[in-house]
Structures are given as C-alpha cells and as structure tokens.
C-alpha cells in the first residue's frame, strides 16, 4: 500500500481513518524507531550496522527491505525497522536488538542513539488525491517535480509537527508524535470531499 515493505496497515480495528475513491488514510503498524545523532563517520558505521546506510543528502530517505534510514538534519537520522514476522506486535525487542548492534558497532565513536519507537505513530496517505488532501493542512509544494518520491522532511501539519515522506508518486507516510495523531486524523477525516 505504501509501496514499501516497511509500512503495513495496523492490524487493529479502526486502522482506516479515511476511505474515499481517490484517497485513503490508514494507521500503520508499529515499528522500531531509533533516533541517531552523530557526525558522518558515526553515521557511516551506524548505517553498516543497521543494514541501511544513513543518507548524507538532505531530505533523502534510504529504504532497504523492511528498514529505512531517513535524513532529518545534518547530524540527525531516523532509523525505522519493521519486524520480520507478522506475529511480532510490539517493536521493543527489535528496537533493543538494533540498538545493541549499532551501539556495539559505534563503540567509542561519539554519537547518540535513542529508542523512540513508541513516540511516533505513522499514517499512510495513499491515492491520486493524496497530495491534495495533505495540502489542506500542509503548506509544502507537493508537486512531484518539487517534492519527489523519496523526499522526507519534518514540517508542520497546521499546528502539529510531522515528518512527511513521499514513498511513491501517490503515497505519503506521515509520522507524528502519538498525542498529535487524533488532531491530524481529525483534520484529514473531515477534509471536504472536494479537496481531493
């Protein structure tokens, strides 16, 4: 659905936030998420240990299978990983093992790695009307020539901060902090039909 192995719809009832002929909004299943901070050397080692190299290009994402490394700032990346098996419904053990692997690889190289798996939730916005729907609250120019597939950025969804990643021409993943999700979902779900 997101055209990525990483994100899948949440299994829970009510995962669908909005379903229209041209766009749908769906809550994504939990992921392991690690915030990584450090310089290029540290990032290089971290990428090797994590299994997806940390992009050095601003606003770039590097999805590899069920993992992805997102550039959020010149010394900041978000590492995402989905469980390899469907049955694993909590990401703690995955986050823990990834954490340990990266920490071991970095050894004494200065860096910071913090588990933020539970801090964020993700929404998958998909369909030909996805950009138009997002543009009811997101001020970025989402024309593909300006915001191409693979671009990821922190920005604002009216009064909430989000991380927006275009994973396919018609698909965006929107990550936000847990407690902001009802606000974001509410604004998406009540957007007028003619906006999409």
């Amino acid at each position: 659905m997101s055209d990525l192995a990483l994100y899948s719809p949440a299994a829970a009832d009510g995962a669908s936030v909005l379903k229209r002929s041209d766009v749908s909004v769906t809550r994504a299943a939990p992921l392991a998420r690690l915030a990584f901070r450090g310089d290029a050397t540290a990032a290089g080692k971290a990428g090797a240990a994590f299994g997806a190299s940390l992009p050095m290009t601003p606003l770039a994402a590097n999805p590899v299978g069920k993992r992805a490394a997102l550039w959020l700032g010149p010394d900041e990346w978000l590492l995402l990983a989905a469980p390899e098996t469907e049955t694993q419904d909590v990401p703690w053990s995955l986050a823990r093992s990834l954490f340990d692997e990266v920490e071991t690889a970095l050894a004494t190289i200065p860096h910071a790695l913090v588990d933020v798996s539970e801090r964020n939730v993700a929404l998958i916005v998909s369909g030909p009307g996805a950009a138009r729907l997002l543009n009811t609250q997101v001020f970025l120019d989402l024309d593909e020539s300006v915001f191409p597939v693979g671009q990821v950025t922190r920005t604002l969804f009216t009064k909430a901060e989000i991380t927006l990643w275009r994973t396919a021409p018609d698909t965006f993943v929107l990550e936000c902090w847990n407690s902001f999700a009802p606000y974001i979902e509410g604004l998406l779900a009540t957007a007028p039909e003619d906006a999409t």
């Binding site: 939990p30 915030a35 901070r37 450090g38 010394d75 909590v90 703690w92 823990r96 200065p110 860096h111 910071a112 790695l113 913090v114 588990d115 933020v116 798996s117 539970e118 801090r119 964020n120 138009r132 543009n135 009811t136 609250q137 997101v138 001020f139 970025l140 120019d141 024309d143 300006v146 009216t158 009064k159 909430a160 902090w177 847990n178 407690s179 902001f180 009802p182 606000y183 974001i184 509410g186 604004l187 009540t190 957007a191 007028p192 039909e193 003619d194 906006a195």
Partner: protein, 1005 residues
C-alpha cells in the same frame, strides 16, 4: 411576476431559469445569472439600505465589490434567516441569487422606507468630521453609561450572527509559477500567455464568471470573433490545461511578503441546495513565484449635492446591468460625466431600450464623434454642464443642471428622470500593488496614481496600470504573462490578439463638482458608506489635519469596506485643494489587507471546535474519564484534575485524595511531563552548564533535582534528572515547559558549545509515566515489577533503574517524590501504559488507595513547600528568592545564569522571598494572586509587600495554607501581615514554607 426593468433580450442571464428570492420579506423574481443587485434593479428596486451615520436612504451604486451602499444581510433560506444565520454586510452586487435566498436591508428600524434613525440626518451638524472625538469628550463619567453604549449600538452595519456558524470552511495551500489576479482581458491574456509557456498558473477572479469587461463589452471582437465567443474559447483552453487552476468567485484579498497571497473562494453560497460535503468557503494560501495583478480600474463618482440618492449610479454599472444582466437601471436616465466612457454607457443603454434624457458633460468640448452619435440617437447633450443636485428622497425624481462659466455656475434647469448615471473617470485599482508594498507614481495627465516599480516578484497589467483600450490591454496582459513565465524559467512567445471595439476613452474629474447651491445646506458625499462629505474633508483640514492619514482617520473617509476605492481620489483632491498642496505631496493612504471583507469562518478555516488546537491526551485519559475525573488544560494536554466520588465537590474530593496519599497510596498520571534524553560523552558537562546543580559526581542509577535558569538569572524550569549511564541522562521538565526547555538547550548546544559531543532527543511521548505515591507505594507496585530490587537499601530515594514490569515490558523506574511521601514514577511504553496502570490500580484499590489528579498533586507539594515553576515563579524569581540556593553548585565556574546571580538588583536587600502564610483564624482560604500588606486596611496607593502564589486547604495541616512571595519575607517569619480584600483585611502569619514533615523522614521508608 414582472421584472419591469428587464430588457426583452440580451445579457448573460438564463431567461429559461427563473429564480425566486425575497428582499425584506417581499418575494421577487430574477433569473439564474443575476446578482441580487441586478435582480432588484430588474424589479425597479433601487432603495436597498440606510447609510451608516445619517441613515439616509441609499441605492445600488456599482456593479462590483466596491459597492458602498447595497450592503445586505443574506441567508440561504427564509428559515436560516429567521434563525439568525444571515450573513451581514454582503454586497448585493456580489451576491448571486438562487431559489429561496432571503436578503434583508440593514441599518434601518422599523423599516427601510421609514427609519427612526433618519433623525440623524436632521441632526447632521452634530455628526461632522471628528464627531467621535468632539461629542464624546466629556464629562468623563458619561463614558461607561452613555457614550460607550451609544457608540456600540451605532457602530457597524448589519447584525452579527449570535449562534455558532453551522457552515464548514476549508483550507488549501497551493503553489504556482504565476498567479493572475483578475480575469478581465488583461488577466486572461496574461494567463493564456503564461500557461502556453508551460508555467503552473492560478487564475482567480472575485466574480462568478471570468471575463471582466468582456462580459459586458458590446460589439467588441477579438481575433475576429465576438468578445464573448473568444472568452469562451480562452476559458476552454485554460480549463483543458492541467497546469492551470481556475478559481472563480475567489477574491485575492491579501498580498503578503515574499509573494504569499491569501484568496477567499466562495464555494457554495450561490447554490440553493449545496452538497453538505462541500465547504461554504475555502481559504487558498498561495505561494506564487510571480504575480500578475490585473485588477482593472474602478469608475469614480462625481461629488455633487445629493449624489447619494437612490437611483444615482455609476455609468459603467448602468452599462453592465444593461449589457450583462439585461436590466435597465431606469426608464428615463440622465448621464453626468467628465469622461468618454459614460457616453458609451449611455449609447449601450439607449440601444437596450433605455431613454437617455440628457448627457451633461463637465467638459466644454467632449469628442465630436460622441456628440454626433448622441445627436443621431436624439439624445440631448449639455457641454460644460454639471449636475448640481438631485430631487427625490428614496429615488431620483429630478436632477438640477448648472452651466459652468467664468462667472460661476448658472442654473440650467431641471430634468425629470428616475436614474442618474455618473462618471468622474477611472481610478486604476492599485490595491494589491499597494498591499505588496509597491509605491505609487502620480500621473498628472491621467489624474491617477499608477503602480510604481514592483517590490516583490510581481507586475501589473491592463487598466490597473493605466493602459486603456481593449487591444492595448490584451497586449499588455500578454506581455505581463510572458514576462512572469520567463522570470520563472518558462520562456514562450508573446501571443498576439487582434481586437476591435472596447476603445480607450479620455476625460476625468477629481474632487467636488462646482454648483450654485447654498453650500451651508447641501451635502455632496465623498464616501457613501461612511457618510463623509466634501465639507467634512475641508473641515478636517481647517481643524488642523494635514496628513492624508490623519484626514482619513478624522473623517473616516476611505475606511469603509471598499477601502476608499471609490472615494480616495476625490477625498484626496478636496484635501489637496484645502491644503493648497499638490496631490502627490499630500499622498494616498496605504491599501491594506483584506481587499474586501472576509468571513471569520474563512480566516479560521478548520481551526475551530475540537480541532482548534491539538488536544493531547495520555494513554490513561480514557480510564480517568471513565472514573469520572474532571480535567484541566495544561499546555495542550488534558490532565486529570481530580476524581470526585459519590457526589463529592472538588474540595471534598481533593481532601480525600490528599489524605489517602499520605495514609496509604495514590496513583497519578505524570505522562505529560516533558522528557529529554541527553546522550554523549559530554552529557554531564552539558548538564553542568545548563543546570545550576553539579552533575559530574552523580552516580549511574541516581536521580537529582535540577534547576534551570535563563541567562538573566531567573528560574525558567525544573525537573528531576536521572543518570542511566555515564553518557546517558533521562531529563524531565515541566509539562508546559518541555518545548521551551529543549529549545533553550539546543540553542546553547548548537551556538555556544558546539564543541561538546552530546545530543538531545525528546522522549516525552516515548514514555507514559505512572506515579505511585504514599507509604504503601512499594506494596502497590512490587507484584508487577519483574527484575528490580525495590528494597530501601537496594533502591533508595532518588534512584533510577531500568528493568521490566508485567512479564517483559520495558520500564524505567524512578524512586522519587513530589508529594513528600515515598513514591515511584514508572516510565513505560505508552502502548502498554493503560494495562499497566490498571494492574497497579487493582493493587492500589486493594490497599485502600486512590487515583488523584493535578489539584491534589498541587496541594501535596505545597504542603512540602515545593515550588511550581510558573506559579511561585514568574520569570523574575531567582533561586535564592525561593530558598533554593542549595540547588546551586557552588564550585562550578559557570552555568547559564550564574553571572547574573551577582547582578546588583539580584543581590539587593528587600527582594521578594517565598514564605508560607497561615491565616490567623485558621479557617479562611486566601485567594491566589491576592496582595499582601502590612496594614489591615492600607491607604489607597500603598504598595503591596507581595502576593499569594499558592493557596489550598491542607488536610495534613488541618487548615488552609498558602505560599507567598513577600519582600524581605524570610526576615518577616513570625510577623503578622494582612491580605486586604473587598470585605476587609485578612490577618496572616508569616511562616516557613513547609507545612508537613520538614525533616523529610517520610521519603526514606
């Protein structure tokens, strides 16, 4: 139903689609395509409102958004009208009629034709320029009871709806290469040119139909086709281009910095039965790389006595009504003009079947071809002739003519008419250029201000920059469109349009028209909507106003909804004459956003009701709600305030919760506290610099209270910090302070100490926090903790451990207290927080414990004298002021705020210090914020010693307690002070700010 002024044929209305609507309760018929104004005129209704100040009867003056008089209340239906849902102050010239539409006139009582307020007209000498300033000066005591109610009831037109707006409003952010504002020939040509170059184009027009003057241009041809056919083709071409967005009914109302523009689209108001899924209006927030302003020109009224009578109308408006709507503005029409275009209006109306009684041109010799054509049509022409007055109160009956000669104005008789069309020439519409901060250039030969050099990425095209004539305007639009597209990298050929008809015209007039009437008795209006006359402007100058900005505010001219688009140039000309100064020296006032009024709904868009702000709820929220908790807002969070049981009020509930925590155990949701994970080899050094406390020696697994100052030395936040590893700290902040604290830390880290290897990550929402406090806290959590030794020796007060609860759920367990009781804060994953909370709750219940909210938390901490940042502190409080010098690392060479603590004003005697207050009677609860004085009833003007910062009934103390900031407070311990209140001063004793367990023995069980 008859539409007695409707022509037999012609116009863009759909004669097959009759539309029924009401005005002031009376039913009328119009046609689809009519505006409310055109439909009323079709039914010979000119009188549509009463003026703001004098309540003079007023009629429709224009056919556009600059309409000053025809402001009406409009509801979609009579039912909505009756339930008070009418939108006030809509311009009838912009309201499209639909079946069922209910409109009402404004500013009249009891009725439009008989209005009590019209007495103001007789009292007009009272209401001269600056009357607000003069009339309401004195006596002072009249302000509250007399003047303000009078001004309030008289202020504004229309009635604001009283109920919540049931309509929905939408928002869209859009980007484009070229935004074209206005779809007349210039705008269309610009849009076509830019779109053909491949640019992303938005074309917006405030009208229902694109085309501007092409919608009423008779006989013009473009590229060999009638203008209306060419228009249809052009719109089809633009509509087929996927990179073009066409926005009719959309006003570009604000031009802001860096080519950010705000547009208001009226989506459904024109529909009788709109789709409920569609919004009423939509705000477009557009970032354009280039803007082409094609906003046209606005015809200027003539300022002559009684020029405000219903039936007096702009000449071009008469032409628009005749040609576009098939409506004759009157049966017998006079034309007063100083320019050629009004003659063409007269000819068109004559062709449509109207009788032109006279054309009176102020100019001594208007163009011969116009005179010849008038003669051919049998129309009387008066040259060098002014209209000097209008007879008829609610409708023009006769106009007075005066011949202008060297000897002055001589009466030239009267003419019976039912409509007078006027034209003082054209004012280029420079509003958006001016909003974009562009300056204006005075063009003396045109009597007009034209756009100067653009300040932003913008250009003007067509008659808004003084270009006249259809062919010239089309060429200018094409030029501007190509220039805009080229500037953003879309080069293209400049399209050429061959046009005939729509000729340019000459002639203009500025200021008051001369007349032979008694100047003391007659009024010639400059600003119709705000009832400003030529005399008012002159009076303002006589009374000392020299700047046009002062004249504007003193007289209110140009401050109506048209922002002076009709009135400014005349007012300026009159002012310039009175000042004896040239027009460009007097200057024009600045045009500001919004171009025309915008509904609050559109400005608010979706930020209203439940979605006004993000409402942040914790994972425990629903549990607390189910328990009947009351909630309070803390920053964006909802926090459980207290948990009333069985009809308890807040005081009873809080007293019970306080007792329970101190006697057994209480459960508290502390999830909202800010959390920051500080990681890196230099983490401890960073904390040393950011907090007052020392951190180097804090052992792994230990907690410490941290106090944070700003550089000025004042307390800005506090919280508990845990060391999880040599290079990893878990920091907590206040709920409201979390973003501020993180920003403060990032600022120092990035811009002052970039050499430190340490990074900050917000983990506020990574952890839900379950606080368990009270002597039985350990019993309550012990059964759930997998792998942490909770014994006092292994896990003493102010310790932290990482481990698991409930069979493998990761947790960070803090042993800490904000109540003075032994306690824990269990940090757990939010996704499991509810389950863990309920498991703890089961134990708490068994132990006779309770859940408690923020109010009890406040009481318990106040009993211990713990401060709350923002309650005891207010941004001017130092650590010493609140007795917390113990939190300052004395050996540290530096930390943020340290140098300021030695500022003379921060070490001076007599600073306010935190103390406790106990009311002498042991019963009275002080009010937070109440002032504290030495005397029971201080004399007026006495300075307070300080104020009460916290006040609660304390179950533990068995009496009300309070914290206060008192000048020299610590030296006053034992003294009696007073809290003066309206019903007498309350005696209080100053005490140490600790009311329970001053030794802290309860923490270490």
């Amino acid at each position: 139903m008859t539409q007695r002024n409707r022509t037999q044929e012609g116009g863009r209305i759909d004669r097959e689609a009759p539309v029924s609507f009401t005005f002031d309760g009376k039913r009328y018929q119009g046609f689809a395509g009519d505006t409310l104004a055109s439909a009323l005129l079709a039914n010979d209704v000119h009188l549509v409102g009463r003026s703001f100040k004098y309540h003079r009867p007023r009629g429709i003056v224009t056919a556009g958004s600059e309409e000053p008089n025809a402001l009406v209340g409009v509801a979609r239906s009579q039912a909505r009208h009756l339930s008070g849902e009418a939108t006030p102050n809509l311009r009838a010239t912009q309201v499209e009629i639909h079946d069922g539409l209910a409109a009402e006139s404004q500013n009249r009582w009891p009725s439009l034709s008989f209005d009590i307020g019209a007495v103001n007209d007789k009292l007009s000498p009272l209401f001269v320029a600056g009357f607000y300033y003069k009339t309401f000066m004195w006596p002072k005591s009249f302000w509250n009871k007399v003047y303000e109610p009078f001004i309030r009831s008289a202020a504004g037109l229309g009635r604001a709806p009283k109920k919540p707006d049931t309509d929905t409003y939408a928002n869209t952010y859009a980007h484009c290469d070229v935004l074209v504002a206005g779809s007349g020939p210039a705008g269309l040509a610009a849009a076509l040119a830019a779109a053909r170059s491949g640019a992303r184009v938005i074309l917006a027009d405030e009208q229902a139909e694109f085309g501007g003057s092409l919608l009423h241009e008779r006989g013009a041809e473009i590229d060999g086709k009638p203008a209306s056919d060419w228009l249809a083709g052009a719109l089809a071409e633009l509509g087929d281009n996927p990179r073009v967005t066409l926005l009719p009914r959309t006003t570009v109302f604000g031009y802001f910095n860096h080519n950010f523009l705000a547009l208001a689209e009226r989506v459904t108001d024109h529909l009788a039965k709109p789709d409920p899924e569609r919004p009423r209006e939509r705000m477009w927030q557009v970032r354009a790389k280039q803007v082409v302003i094609a906003s046209g020109a606005i015809e200027r009224p003539l300022v002559f006595p009684e020029n405000d009578r219903p039936g007096v109308m702009m000449a071009e408006a008469g032409r628009i009504y005749a040609n576009r709507y098939g409506v004759l503005p009157g049966k017998r029409i006079a034309v007063a003009t100083a320019c050629d275009s009004a003659w063409r209006a007269a000819f068109d109306i004559a062709e449509a079947g109207g009788a032109i009684a006279v054309i009176a041109d102020l100019r001594a010799d208007p163009p011969a071809d116009l005179v010849a054509r008038a003669a051919a049509l049998g129309v009387r022409v008066e040259r060098g002739c002014a209209v000097t007055g209008v007879i008829g109160k609610t409708r023009v009956k006769r106009v007075l003519l005066g011949r202008i000669s060297d000897a002055g104005v001589l009466s030239a008789g009267e003419v019976d008419v039912d409509c007078l069309l006027m034209s003082g020439g054209w004012t280029p519409n420079v509003s958006l250029h001016s909003q974009a901060r562009g300056k204006l250039d005075w063009q003396a030969d045109k009597g007009a201000f034209l756009p100067g050099d653009p300040v932003q990425a913008q250009g003007s095209a067509g008659s808004c920059r003084g270009v006249d004539g259809l062919a010239e305007v089309l060429a200018d639009g094409a030029r501007a469109g190509v220039a805009a597209a080229t500037a953003v990298g879309h080069e293209g050929d400049t399209p050429e349009f061959a046009a005939t008809g729509g000729e340019a015209g000459d002639g203009w007039w500025l200021g008051a028209v001369p007349h032979d009437r008694d100047a003391a008795r007659v009024r010639a209006f400059v600003d119709f909507q705000n009832d400003v006359t030529a005399k008012d402007v002159k009076l303002a100058v006589r009374e000392g106003m020299q700047s046009i900005e002062h004249i504007k505010r003193y007289t209110t001219t140009g401050m109506a909804t048209d922002q002076g688009r009709l009135s400014n140039m005349n007012a300026l000309s009159i002012a310039s004459g009175a000042l004896g100064n040239e027009i460009p020296q007097v200057g024009l006032t600045t045009f500001r956003q919004p171009y025309t009024p915008v509904t609050f709904g559109t400005l608010a868009t979706t930020s209203r009701g439940d979605l006004f702000d993000p409402v942040r709820k914790t994972p425990i929220h629903d549990w607390a709600a189910k328990q009947g908790a009351a909630f309070e807002d803390v920053a964006l969070w909802k926090r459980a305030w207290y948990f009333p049981k069985g009809g308890e009020d807040m005081h009873d509930a809080v007293a019970r919760e306080c007792r329970t925590v101190r006697e057994s155990v209480g459960l508290f949701d502390a999830t909202t506290l800010g959390k920051i994970e500080i990681v890196g080899p230099d983490a401890a050094e960073f904390l040393n610099r950011i907090y007052t406390n020392p951190w180097t020696k804090l052992g792994v697994g230990k907690l410490r209270y941290g106090l944070m100052l700003n550089e000025a030395g004042f307390i800005m936040d506090d919280g508990v910090v845990g060391r999880l590893a040599e290079d990893r700290f878990h920091v907590t902040t206040t709920t409201g302070g979390a973003p501020r604290v993180l920003a403060h830390m990032e600022d120092y880290l990035q811009t002052e100490w970039s050499d430190l290897d340490v990074w900050l990550t917000s983990t506020t929402e990574q952890w839900a926090v379950i606080a368990v406090q009270g002597p039985k806290a350990r019993e309550a959590i012990a059964p759930l903790v997998d792998d942490i030794d909770l014994s006092g020796d292994a896990f003493p007060h102010m310790s932290v451990r990482e481990g698991h609860v409930m069979g493998g759920i990761p947790c960070r367990l803090f042993r800490m207290s904000f109540t003075g009781e032994a306690g824990y804060e269990i940090n757990v994953p939010p996704s499991r927080a509810r389950a863990i909370w309920e498991a703890v709750w089961a134990n708490v219940e068994k132990l006779g414990g309770c859940a408690y909210g923020t109010e009890t938390m406040h009481v318990l901490r106040a009993e211990k004298g713990y401060i709350i940042v923002g309650q005891e502190t207010d941004g001017t409080v130092t650590p010493d002021d609140v007795g917390m010098t113990w939190a300052i690392g004395k050996k540290k060479p530096d930390f943020v705020g340290k140098r300021s603590l030695a500022r003379p004003d921060l070490v001076a005697e007599g600073r306010k210090q935190m103390v406790g207050l106990l009311t002498k009677d042991g019963k009275t609860l002080l009010e937070e914020g109440a002032q504290v004085t030495v005397e029971r009833s201080p004399a007026r003007g006495t300075s307070a010693l300080g104020h009460v910062t916290s006040s609660y009934r304390s179950p533990a103390a068995g009496r009300p307690i309070a914290l206060a900031m008192i000048a020299g407070g610590r030296a006053r311990i034992g003294e009696t002070l007073h809290v003066p209140m309206p019903d007498g001063g309350i005696a209080v004793e100053v005490v140490r700010p600790v009311f329970v367990d001053p030794e802290g023995t309860r923490l270490n069980v």
